[in-house]
Structures are given as C-alpha cells and as structure tokens.
C-alpha cells in the first residue's frame, strides 16, 4: 500500500474513534498515542511548552507522535554527534575491505556494522555524516526561500493593489520556470555542489510560501486588531512586523517542517542524477546512485541509504503533521 493511502486510512480511523484507547488503536505506533498533560501545556499561549499558572491551568489531551519524534530524534542525534558516534572516517577506506557485507551476513565483520562500499568505506559512518549534508541543504533551502517568500508575501498581501498584482504575477512567472533546467545551467557554470542546490532552490521556491503568506496576510489585515493598531497611530511597517507576522509564524513553521521531508527526497534525487553533491561526498542520494551498479551482489549499498531517507522524511512529515494539528486554533483538542 502506498504510504499516502496508509496515512489517510490511519487518519480516518483515528478521527472516527472518539473514545479510543491506546489498545484499540492498531496504528498508534505510527500515528502516535495520546497523553494527558496537566497544566504543562497551555495551548493558547500559542507556541511551545509553557508552565501554566493556576488561573489558566487546563487539562489537555495531546497526541504524541512517538514514531515521528523518534525518527526526528534519531536524525538530529546523528547530525549533532556525527563525529562522536561514527566508527570510521566516512571518506577514507581500505580497498582490502571492499564490499564487505553487514555484520550479520556471512563474511561480514563487526568492524563494519552495515558493511562497506566498493572503496572499502564504512557505510554506517557515511550514513551518519550524510545526515549533516541533508539537514544543511534542506534547512539552507528553506531558510533562503522561506524568508524570501514570507517577506514578499507579507508585502504583497498587506499593500494590496498594484504591488500585490506585480508580486503575484512575478510569482506566477517564477513558478512557470523549470527549476531543474536552471539547476542544470547553474551546475554547468559553477559546478554541481550543495551551494548550487541551495541557491537554485532558494531562488526558485519562494512563490509557494509567498502565495500562502499573502493569503494569510490578506485576511489578517482586515481583522480588527490591525484596524485598532492603525487607529492607535501605528505605521504600516510596524503593523506588518509586530501584528501580522506573529500570526503567520505558525503556518510558516508547519509549512517548513513538512517541506523539509520533500526537500530531503529532492536532494537525494538530484544527487542521484549527478546534479547535486559530488563524490566523495556522503550524501544519501549520491550513495544510492553509486551503489546502484552493485545492487545485484551488494544490496546493502542501496538499502541503507534508502532507509535513512525514509526515516528522516517520515520524522519530519509526522512531526509537521502533528505540529499543524497542535498549532491550528480551529482544530479543537479533545
């Protein structure tokens, strides 16, 4: 079953069961269990955990996506402690150790838990260091185009009229440009690298964020608190920054978390196509591409990078989904 349909079914079963318990929910392991919080979580304080005061203490039931958070935790753990936990140098290998299978296979050694590639480099170490590249590029891309999109979207939605029209038509124009072609071009001129990817997608990605932020600010600017700020003599810039923007932050955070998963896949795809990072980099997509030729007798070269991608993407998506539910004021927490 494709993941999307699976997620949909789980979603449904979770919603239909108003009084479900942990035992009843077969998919709890994937979609998360519910936990009770007393006064620890104050939903309307709008973000993150806040110690509730007596007056505002509330009992809320919050679903915790253990699997998602677990995947994400694992991912960030490897990112932060890559140097500490990786058993070997990811770029150095001994040809004598070439294509050793994982430890539990016949012929494998415990020195290389997940085996080695054709140059004798440790797959596990490369995976661990690869997480850094994935995070760097995806966060770089999103920070780049997210900022651009939020700024342009805010200006567009808030000013309205001609400015709005120009920015939005620019966004239309922008989204009609094929990003891959631009990437080919930039890669041809500057050489394929992580920097090229970040710049290309940083430039290309903003219309998506721009449109959503514009829509939000369009509706926010008609709200009474904006009128009140104006009546109190607030300047447009200040209204945008201190009144409209905080109301959009939720959306942007959610968008970004869900987006990161997609970008990790995209980077892997580009590396696979040879447009991304270049050897001897240990990017997951590149590892997949390199291992592809040896798939018939060295299955571990493609399997483990694939699993790593799945874990990272699943972690970001499930957490993003959870955040969306949690931060959306319209969705009532039971």
């Amino acid at each position: 079953m494709p993941i999307s349909t699976l997620a949909f079914d789980i979603n449904k079963s979770w919603r239909l069961n108003a009084n479900y318990t942990v035992q009843e929910n077969v998919f709890g392991f994937l979609y998360g269990y519910e936990a009770d919080f007393q006064g620890l979580f104050n939903r309307k304080s709008y973000m993150f955990l806040k110690k509730g005061k007596k007056s505002s203490e509330k009992k809320l039931r919050v679903r915790i996506p253990y699997l998602g958070l677990g995947c994400l935790g694992l991912f960030f753990f490897t990112v932060i402690f890559a140097n500490v936990i990786s058993p070997h140098d990811p770029y150095e290998g001994d040809l004598a150790d070439s294509t050793l299978p994982p430890a539990w296979e016949e012929g494998g050694t415990t020195r290389f838990l997940l085996g080695t590639d054709m140059l004798g480099r440790d797959v596990l170490s490369r995976l661990i260091h690869g997480s850094r590249i994935s995070l760097l590029i995806s966060v770089g891309c999103i920070a780049f185009y997210g900022t651009l999109g939020v700024i342009l979207g805010l200006i567009s939605g808030f000013s309205g009229g001609r400015t709005d029209m120009i920015i939005m038509r620019l966004a239309d124009l922008w989204s009609s440009l094929p990003g891959i072609i631009l990437l080919f071009m930039l890669a041809a001129v500057y050489g394929p690298s992580a920097k090229t990817i970040i710049i290309t997608f940083g430039i290309m990605g903003w219309p998506y964020y721009g449109r959503i932020v514009r829509g939000e600010s369009l509706s926010l600017k008609e709200r009474d608190f904006v009128r009140l700020a104006r009546v109190a003599g607030c300047s447009n810039l200040r209204i945008m920054v201190s009144h409209v923007f905080p109301n959009i932050v939720n959306t942007v955070i959610i968008l970004a978390t869900i987006d990161i998963g997609g970008i990790i896949v995209l980077i892997a795809t580009l590396s696979f196509l040879g447009l991304g990072t270049q050897p001897p980099s240990c990017d997951w997509g590149l590892m997949l591409a390199e291992g592809r030729q040896y798939i018939t007798y060295a299955w571990w070269l493609v399997t483990f990078p694939g699993i790593a991608i799945v874990v990272a993407v699943l972690g970001f998506n499930l957490t993003g989904d959870w955040l969306r539910e949690l931060l959306d004021p319209k969705q009532k927490l039971r």
Binding site: S55, D224, F225, R227, L228, A229, V231, G233, H243
Partner: protein
C-alpha cells in the same frame, strides 16, 4: 458659522464642514457621507445616532482619515481639528495625531485585540508609537488597567486577550484609547457587543473618565438609551446627512424631525403596555442613488411636494436645536 454663536462659552475642538465621503464601486458612486456639518466643543460628550448603514462609522473614519482604501475617498469638505484641517495633513502627520490627540474605541472588543500579544504589551502600544520609550511600560499599563477598574491589574497585565472577558476586553480597549490623554475620543458602538449590565458599567466608566480628563467624546451608537445616559448633545444621522442636532433633554421631550419622532416612538417603555411597537415604514434609502430631496421623504408620513425636490436647509428651532426639515 451659526454654531459659533451658540457655543461661545466653549472652545471648538472639532469642526466638520460639508464633509463628503464616497465609495467608488463598480455599481457606481456610493455617497456614504454626503455633506455633514457639526461642531464638537472641548469636554463635550456628543452622541451620533442613526440606523445601520447611515454613515455614522464612515463619518468617524473620515475624521481619523482611515476610510477603507482604495474604494473610499473623502471627496470634499473640511475637518478642522484645533483649527487645523486634517484633510490637508500628510499621512505621516496624521499618524502622529491618531492614537495621540484623537483616538478611537472599536466596537468588537474580543476581536479587536491581537490574540497573540499580552494585554500589557498592547496597552502600552499607543504610548510606544508616540513617545520614545526605553524599558518597560509595565507600571504605566497597570495604572491604566486600574483606571478602567480591571480587578487585580498587577497579574492581569500578563494575561492574553482570550483570558479576558468581553467586558474586560472593552475596558482594556478604553484604556488603550485614553493612554495618551487624547483631546477627542471616538467611541464606535462601544457597548454593542456587551450585555446590558456590562453596558451600564462601561458607560459609567466612560463618563467618569471623561469627567476626569475633560476630553471630548463622540459616541456612535444606534441605541438611544446609551445616548441618554452619558451624552449632553445628540446628532441624528440619516442617509449620509445629519438631520437633527439637539441637546439630549430637548430631543427626548420634543423631537422635531419626523424620523426622530419615529425613533422615539419605536423605543419600548418599561411598564407601559403598548401592544404592537411603532415602526417606521419602508426601507432606508440606497446611498447609491439617493432621493434628490429630503432623504427621508419617501418614508415620511408628512411629506409634501418640496420634500421630494429640494433638500431642506437647517432651521434653528431654539438654542442648540436644529433640524433639516421643510415642516419647520
């Protein structure tokens, strides 16, 4: 300038001369405010009464120069505030006046506050926009909350708006309105969203504050009882024009304009069985294509021929009581 003679003992704070505000829509020009004249003296509480869509709110937004853009536009007229024409001021100068010299209380307290910012922060905002502030305004905000009688202001400043009740939100809004000690406070239906007991409290609070600070208040409402409670003078608006100006007592005793008479008649009186309540027949005029004569003529029971042709000039009945009607 007939008004001047009447208000000789008072200083004029705000004078509106033939102000016209229109909305340019696809269907045509909507004349929301069509030649409004009135004067507000210093320290005066004036009620602006009229039915929905008669131009009350647009009049107040015109004074603030905040008519919804780009469709709305102040076409002509003069708005003299302390003898300076607000319509000739630049946007930047206007911003310095808004919230400082003229402030406004909006009608829906619960949605007028930014739900994501603490009440304490929002209370300090009008002050912050107009003064250079270094450090916290906490003390000032607590003082403001005290002034509007919010209980336990020391802990309440740290609350978010959703933790406030409707009445308390309205109090906080009033506190924001008076933060800079404005000369003119425009209250746009400040009690509409509240229930009756809270209404009375808020009105009393506004009256107290006004007595203390000597600022003028324009109270926009469609509730005649509200006006009777705190206003000294009353302006009745109909179809984008002011049709009657009167001191409150005179107005309730002998309203002059047929529309005002109808208004008074349609208010139920407690303890007097009246059967079916009086109502004014017909619909308010479309401001897209207003009648050429008196706006009220099509609904008026006493309308004569000139009523449909020429708009009646203002007639002085007695001191301070003026009416635009051919009957007088």
């Amino acid at each position: 300038m007939k008004d001047k003679q009447l208000d000789t003992e008072n200083e004029e704070l705000l004078v509106l001369k033939d102000v016209k505000t229109s909305f340019f829509t696809k269907k045509g020009v909507v004349r929301a405010v069509d030649g409004v004249n009135f004067t507000i003296s210093k320290g005066e509480v004036v009620g602006l009464v009229g039915e929905s869509g008669c131009g009350k709110s647009i009049t107040s937004l015109s004074i603030m120069r905040l008519v919804p853009q780009p469709a709305g536009k102040i076409v002509s007229g003069e708005i003299l505030f302390k003898n300076e024409d607000l319509l000739k001021k630049s946007e930047d100068e206007m911003r310095r006046i808004r919230g400082d010299r003229i402030s406004m209380i909006l009608q829906d307290p619960m949605v007028s506050m930014n739900q994501l910012l603490k009440v304490g922060y929002q209370l300090g905002e009008p002050y912050r926009y107009h003064h250079k502030v270094s450090g916290s305004l906490r003390e000032m905000c607590i003082g403001l909350l005290k002034k509007v009688k919010v209980p336990a202001p020391e802990s309440r400043v740290n609350d978010y708006p959703f933790q406030f009740s409707g009445g308390m939100c309205q109090r906080a809004l009033i506190a924001m309105g008076i933060a800079n000690g404005p000369d003119l406070l425009i209250a746009d239906e400040p009690t509409t969203a509240l229930d009756v007991t809270i209404q009375a409290q808020i009105l009393k609070l506004m009256k107290d504050i006004q007595r203390e600070s000597r600022s003028s208040i324009i109270l926009i409402t469609h509730d005649l009882a509200t006006v009777a409670q705190i206003c000294s003078r009353l302006l009745v608006m109909y179809g984008g024009r002011i049709i009657e100006k009167a001191p409150v007592k005179t107005f309730y005793k002998k309203p002059a304009h047929p529309y005002s008479v109808g208004l008074i008649k349609s208010v139920p009186v407690l303890g007097r069985p009246s059967g079916r309540l009086y109502s004014i027949d017909g619909q308010p005029p479309s401001l897209l294509d207003p009648p050429s004569g008196c706006r009220f003529a099509p609904r008026c029971t006493q309308a004569k021929k000139p009523c449909f042709e020429i708009y009646p000039p203002e007639t002085i009945l007695e001191e301070g009581h003026k009416v635009s009607c051919w009957l007088y």
